[in-house]
């Protein structure tokens, strides 16, 4: 719990109705972001990371619903806003960039139309002003010949360009928080680097908070100062990125880092993490969600969920009954080496 944080999530519980039951995909999730911070949310597919993003904007649709919790943006609870106020928050205060670049853009309207429409929905701009600003934004995200591109349709652009447009759209109304949900996994590697660089530049501004969601921790360590490790809807470790990636305490984090193939250190055979994230259709796992796959499993792990400790803000916290010892392992260091 931190005073003065721009975004404070408390006890967020989002469920999906599966087979007649409401399964909690996110269970009592809590975290916070300071203004201007760049926070990473790391997790495999199935960890619920996209659900977090959608929940923050109340974009969860049936069969899912947000069952409990609060999402405090500057003190206001997004989950309890009136529809009109919610509309103002979406795009105006919190904006989101989705994973699939083609997915955010309506195919039948030109990108100029969509930019102008979004801006005029939030800002008091005349048409001409909105057009000017749109061209400016396109230039800022690195689109060549922005005036011409205003009339292009999404399908005429490459994946990388579409993603840039999506970012421009997200930033067009000067939101306080930008959520980037896996913005680079749907584009190829060279474009990935460009997009990341773009995000880096754009979020240098102290007034913009970035939440970068990804399964690739190297992506996160490139930009984010702080990271939250998400497993099966719970935060299992959090802290400054160089700390978490350099000295992982939670077995899952450690395994994640070890499994990533590293160019510097070629290990053979590749380390793998056996098993897969729990299938929530059968209900949540009792105790620590990771315990079935954990090499450091001890008795309490199967019955009681370990608390996330220590609870000081900005501390390196982890939720484990039997955390990794503090001595650094070479592989984890090499893997997390790029972190600032």
């Amino acid at each position: 719990m931190s005073v003065g944080s721009i975004l404070q999530v408390n006890g967020l519980t989002t469920t999906y109705r599966v087979g007649g039951r409401d399964v909690p995909v996110l269970d009592n999730l809590s975290f916070h972001c300071e203004a201007g911070e760049r926070v990473g949310l790391a997790g495999e597919s199935g960890s619920g990371k996209s659900v977090v993003a959608l929940s923050l904007l109340r974009l969860i649709r049936p069969p899912g619903r947000i069952a409990a919790g609060e999402v405090l943006l500057d003190g206001q609870d997004v989950l309890r806003l009136s529809p009109a106020a919610l509309r103002r928050v979406r795009g105006g205060q919190i904006a989101i960039v989705f994973q699939d670049p083609g997915g955010s853009l309506t195919p039948v309207y030109s990108i100029g139309t969509q930019l102008v429409e979004t801006m005029r929905a939030h800002l008091p701009l005349s048409r001409a002003e909105a057009v000017r600003r749109a061209v400016e934004l396109l230039g800022q995200v690195g689109i060549p010949e922005p005036e011409r591109r205003m009339e292009s349709f999404p399908h005429e652009l490459s994946g990388g360009m579409k993603q840039r447009v999506a970012i421009a759209l997200a930033l067009s109304c000067n939101p306080k928080v930008l959520i980037a949900d896996d913005p680079t996994s749907a584009v190829d590697v060279t474009i990935q680097a460009q997009i990341l660089q773009l995000l880096d530049e754009l979020t240098q501004d102290e007034r913009l908070t970035l939440i970068l969601i990804s399964h690739d921790f190297r992506v996160i360590s490139t930009i984010c100062e702080r990271v939250l490790i998400l497993y099966s809807g719970d935060i299992v470790e959090t802290g400054p990125s160089y700390e978490v990636f350099g000295r992982p305490r939670h077995p899952y984090t450690r395994a994640l880092l070890e499994c990533a193939p590293s160019i510097e250190e070629y290990r053979f055979p590749f380390a793998t993490l056996s098993g897969s994230p729990p299938n929530l259709v059968h209900g949540r796992v009792a105790g620590c969600p990771f315990h079935p796959r954990c090499a450091r499993r001890v008795e309490p792990c199967a019955t009681e969920m370990p608390p996330l400790e220590p609870t000081l803000p900005s501390a390196h916290a982890y939720a484990c009954w039997n955390p990794e010892p503090i001595d650094e392992c070479a592989s984890a260091r090499a893997a997390g080496g790029e972190a600032r």
Binding site: G91, F98, P107
Partner: protein, 308 residues
């Protein structure tokens, strides 16, 4: 692809006209014989009639004579009534057009709201009722609906006239058109509603709609995004329906005796009035092909990805 269709248009039109021309002359027994059946007419008079109608020339020449005239706007003379075909068409066309346009507009006025509502309330009782309703109405043939309509609204309820096109230019005419419009619209609405509903459902679940909501756009704006994309299959189906519309107009015209192209066509078939049949069928084929082309163009405008 559009250019290819445009280029193919003319050859198709020509081929169609040849086909129709030949079809009518394939059977032995020329029009003159049919025309003069029952009247004591001498051979020399028949020969003169044949000369007058160019029936003594070889087929190929006959075709070119006809085609040449047709392009210049002369579609020949009705064998039965000796009136110029163009005049006959001129008399019947306005009614048919009114019927067609009115029915189409009415059908769209009903199907667009129904389709959107059904999609927005998917799974609800209303949605299921709409789906069920469209299935039922699709199973009612148009001429059957016409007869039943006359039975119910004209004879039992006595609300509307049952036959004819009415007099003058005002209310009476309109009254005579209500039932025909209703029957035509009934047939068209069902398919349109289904297509729009399916299209909307598909689009509403797309990411870009979620993204639009996530940008804080008003409900109405989000729906506009969805509708615009979903309209493409509807326009396509309108093109497909055009054939059905033509046929439907012919039938409705005949059932209600409105004096349009439908009645003209059937009557002239029964009377073997070749010039009239020829002119009408060729016109219909051309209109149909042109409409398909138009639909392609509109779809291309609505959704820039179309045809790629």
């Amino acid at each position: 692809m559009i250019l290819r269709r445009l280029a193919a248009f003319v050859p198709i039109v020509i081929a169609v006209s040849v086909l129709i021309f030949l079809a009518l002359r394939v059977v032995p027994g020329d029009p003159v014989t049919v025309l003069t059946a029952g009247s004591p007419v001498g051979e020399d008079v028949k020969a003169q009639l044949r000369r007058e109608f160019d029936l003594d020339k070889p087929l190929v020449a006959q075709y070119f004579l006809w085609a040449g005239d047709a392009i210049r706007g002369d579609l020949g003379i009705s064998l039965k009534s000796r009136v110029e075909v163009t005049e006959l068409l001129g008399q019947s066309f306005p009614v048919t057009l009114t019927l067609l346009v009115g029915g189409l507009i009415l059908s769209l006025l009903i199907s667009i709201p129904l389709g959107v509502i059904a999609a927005l309330r998917q799974g609800s009782l209303l949605d299921q009722a709409i789906i069920g309703g469209t299935l039922v109405f699709l199973s009612i043939p148009i001429f059957t609906a016409g007869i039943l309509g006359i039975l119910v609204f004209s004879f039992w309820l006595d609300w509307l006239p049952s036959f004819g096109r009415g007099d003058g230019f005002g209310l009476d005419r309109l009254e005579h058109l209500i039932l025909p419009w209703g029957v035509l619209a009934l047939a068209l609405t069902a398919a349109q509603t289904n297509t729009l509903r399916a299209g909307m459902l598909d689009v509403l679940n797309r990411d870009y709609i979620l993204a639009a909501e996530g940008r804080g756009l008003r409900r109405r704006a989000v729906l506009r995004h969805a509708l615009r994309t979903a309209l493409v299959p509807v326009v396509t189906i309108l093109g497909v329906q055009f054939g059905y519309m033509i046929v439907g107009t012919v039938l409705v015209d005949y059932v209600f005796g409105l004096g349009g192209i439908g009645q003209l066509l059937v009557d002239s078939v029964n009377q073997r009035d070749y010039p009239v049949i020829q002119a009408i069928v060729v016109m219909i084929a051309i209109a149909f092909t042109a409409a398909t082309l138009l639909v392609d163009l509109v779809c291309n405008w609505l959704d820039p990805r179309y045809g790629e």
